[in-house]
């Protein structure tokens, strides 16, 4: 299985039926393709709607409907629109059950950095800080290391934080880590991956439970 698919598949299994979910751009967006049978979630778009549908073709696109990246979108039956105050009230107020987002760095204190590389990339935080603080379950879905092979799961983030102590789970192609408020627990390993391999590719200290699950 390709890395990104493995990550997206596993992240989708955190959703509970009837939940409201917000997916970040990039890999997290793909999670929608792997939601298990029998689980129905509604997707929120922070620019102001619930019920993200398929990407419309050019002819069928209603120009008043875009996603949080400003790209053409559609609204499913049962969806609704609202202004930005309501949108972020839903997010901060704990009405969004889960968010899946990417990261530049995550650390063993549950800190997340994903919005700025000072001096190089300063796009702004958009709605990211609100989502990480407000969503009930924060799932980081990302490849375990950088393209150059450097660890992204650190003892301490070096980049400016999106929010401190807010990450619940980290899902990579190698493993699932759970931040329990005290440290990162290695909960699941992907098939064929050893604890040693994860340790080699992770700077953070990992807590090993008695039983490590298999990442499906």
């Amino acid at each position: 299985m390709e890395h990104r698919e493995r990550i997206a598949r596993r992240a989708a299994r955190f959703f509970r039926d009837g939940g409201l979910v917000n997916l970040g751009i990039g890999l997290p967006t793909q999670v929608v393709n792997y939601i298990p049978e029998g689980i129905h979630v509604q997707l929120q778009s922070e620019n102001g709607f619930i019920g993200i549908g398929p990407i419309p073709d050019a002819d069928g696109w209603d120009h008043d409907v875009v996603n949080a990246g400003g790209r053409p979108a559609s609204i499913l039956p049962g969806g609704c629109t609202f202004d930005s105050a309501m949108s972020f009230g839903l997010i901060r107020g704990g009405h969004v059950d889960a968010t899946v987002l990417g990261a530049l760095e995550v650390d063993q204190e549950g800190n997340l950095a994903n919005w700025i590389i000072p001096g190089r990339k300063v796009p702004g935080m958009g709605g990211g800080m609100d989502l990480v603080v407000g969503a009930r379950l924060v799932i980081v879905a990302m490849e375990h290391c950088t393209k150059a092979g450097a660890p992204k799961i650190l003892r301490r983030c070096t980049l400016p934080l999106t929010a401190p102590h807010s990450v619940d789970y980290i899902v990579t192609e190698l493993c699932v880590l759970h931040y329990n408020g005290a440290g990162l627990i290695l909960e699941e390993l992907a098939p064929g991956i050893t604890v040693e391999e994860v340790r080699t590719k992770t700077q953070a200290e990992l807590i090993l439970p008695e039983q490590i699950g298999r990442m499906e």
């Binding site: 409907v65 990246g69 400003g70 609204i75 930005s84 796009p123 935080m125 958009g126 800080m129 929010a163």
Partner: protein
């Protein structure tokens, strides 16, 4: 019969001058008064402080117009990544950008329009967004005190307006518009369609006419 707030583009443009603080509705130019922005830029206006969710894009279109043509000296926004010209002007030192988390930006504008002295939000605690801000603990949780944000002019877009200035928005073109409609000294609306008083379903009106000063059909 309510007084009509329908004005010509020229009448509305006459209210702008260099150096003003202007809020502009929209999210990536969807729900932005794009035609009005083009006309305003063509007046040669300069040194604006723009408050908006984002900087549009790097085309000469919508909010991005004022960035690309260097008509703004300050920008308060949550995300500027879709308009690479913003970074370029920041590096040249000709555009001062204040980044605000999106939920905080809308709440600050809401405070400005709803008579509130500020809002306490958990967003940004322990990050760069907390710099220079007062931290207040309520029930054992830390919050940032975020202050109201207002503008001299709010420039927004509605789908339908009646001649009195009641506004209806459509789909994701709502975004910041209803909130900004309450937070400026002068509220100018670009309306896609204008109807007579009585033609809008009162239950559908999102912004009451009392908040609106001018409606420009464009």
């Amino acid at each position: 019969m309510a007084t009509s707030k329908i004005v010509s583009l020229e009448e509305a443009l006459a209210r702008f001058h260099d150096g003003q603080t202007v809020m502009i509705g929209g999210f990536t130019n969807v729900g932005s008064p794009n035609q009005f922005c083009r006309a305003l830029a063509d007046t040669g206006i300069r040194r604006l402080h723009i408050i908006a969710n984002d900087a549009g894009n790097d085309w000469q279109d919508g909010i991005g117009t004022f960035i690309v043509e260097r008509r703004a000296v300050r920008l308060t926004a949550s995300h500027v990544g879709l308009n690479p010209v913003v970074g370029q002007l920041m590096n040249e030192g000709v555009l001062e950008v204040t980044l605000v988390p999106q939920g905080t930006l809308v709440e600050r504008i809401r405070c400005g329009g709803m008579g509130l002295g500020g809002v306490l939000t958990p967003t940004g605690v322990g990050t760069l967004a907390a710099q220079g801000k007062q931290v207040i603990s309520v029930g054992g949780r830390d919050y940032l005190l975020e202050l109201p944000l207002r503008a001299e002019i709010a420039l927004i877009k509605a789908w339908r307006a009646d001649t009195a200035g009641n506004l209806v928005y459509r789909r994701t073109a709502k975004n910041f518009n209803p909130v900004m409609a309450m937070a400026a000294d002068l509220v100018i609306v670009q309306a896609e369609e204008v109807v007579e008083v009585g033609e809008l379903d009162p239950d559908q009106v999102c912004t009451p006419a009392a908040c609106v000063d001018m409606v420009v059909p464009l």
